[in-house]
């Protein structure tokens, strides 16, 4: 088991690098705010970043349990279908999709 001092060092590294990655861009962008490129990127980025997060999260799920690939794809369809068909209630859609995946993966 690693020593406590090692664990504390890990915590310090994790804290400072994560915070720096989150904070430094704001300090830089503060001076650029209002420039055409920052305003355009602010409009263009969210949809694309969310899509990338969705695909890589799906990829992570599938690689963790390769035999559940079809269950995962079915659950994606259920999530999107429920979301579009039942008035975009996020908890309902996420809950339905997750339930489909968990039940199929554990029962079959």
């Amino acid at each position: 088991m690693p020593s406590t001092s090692y664990l504390v060092a890990v915590l310090a590294i994790v804290f400072s690098i994560t915070l720096a990655l989150r904070a430094v861009p704001f300090a830089v962008l503060g001076r650029l705010r209002g420039s055409a490129i920052v305003r355009r990127l602010a409009v263009w980025m969210p949809v694309g970043i969310l899509a990338i997060l969705a695909v890589t999260a799906l990829h992570g799920t599938v690689t963790a349990d390769v035999h559940g690939t079809w269950y995962a794809l079915l659950a994606v369809a259920v999530t999107a279908g429920v979301h579009l068909a039942f008035g975009r209630r996020t908890i309902l859609s996420v809950g339905a999709g997750t339930a489909v995946y968990v039940v199929l993966l554990n029962a079959l």
Binding site: V10, L21, L29, W44, P46, L50, I52, V55, T79
Partner: protein, 250 residues
Amino acid sequence: MRQDVLPHWAAPTPTTPTTRRIQIAQGIRDSFSAGLGIFPLGIALGLLIIQAGLPWWLAPALSLAAFAGSLELLLVGMVATSAPLAAVALTVLVVNFRHVFYAFSFPLHLVKHPVARAYAVYAMIDEAYAVNASLPEHERSAPRLLAMQIACEAYWVGGGLVGVALGAALPAPIKGLEFALCALFIVLTLDAFRSRKELPSLLLAGASVAVALILTPGMAMFTALLLFVGLLLPRHAVTARRTVQEAAGA
């Protein structure tokens, strides 16, 4: 018009308490959908830490220090084998590098108080960014944002503690709960696409992630975000040139 003439101190006072309470309630409601992914993932982290033979306090300590789900799950394995600190640092840098891109569209300008600003930056996790990015501009507010972030951190730390408590008590962990995270991102992509019909961005992101999965499946998110930004810069150049031409033509 009349309201613009009012002195500064007179304007916000009467309405602030109720709207603020409503905004906090909205923020907590926003957090529920994210919590559905965060809480089970927190339990998974706690279980993993106990299974790896690490002390229980590492779950809350790591969650407060990093507050970054996927990274923490990754770090447990490294810490359990006493990986070199330099390797830990590099992993943190690569896995969390995506947060650099969030600054472009995260509404930090809404938060005025310095302590609250610092917290909003510290707690800018994927889910907080994502939930906020899918909201229309006029529905955003500082209390709503902060309430959502504080709630998310409570779910994450709380989930970790529950996982630690469950420890070995559970014969076999329930598999597949992490799909909630994937489902959340899918739903938020649909919502963000509805509020801004940005088909070119979606296509560029799709191309980026496809290439990233083929070239670097081990760090696909990092590569995909880098490619995506790399594609948006030429798009900006094209758009800028077209704007200039239209201005000249008109």
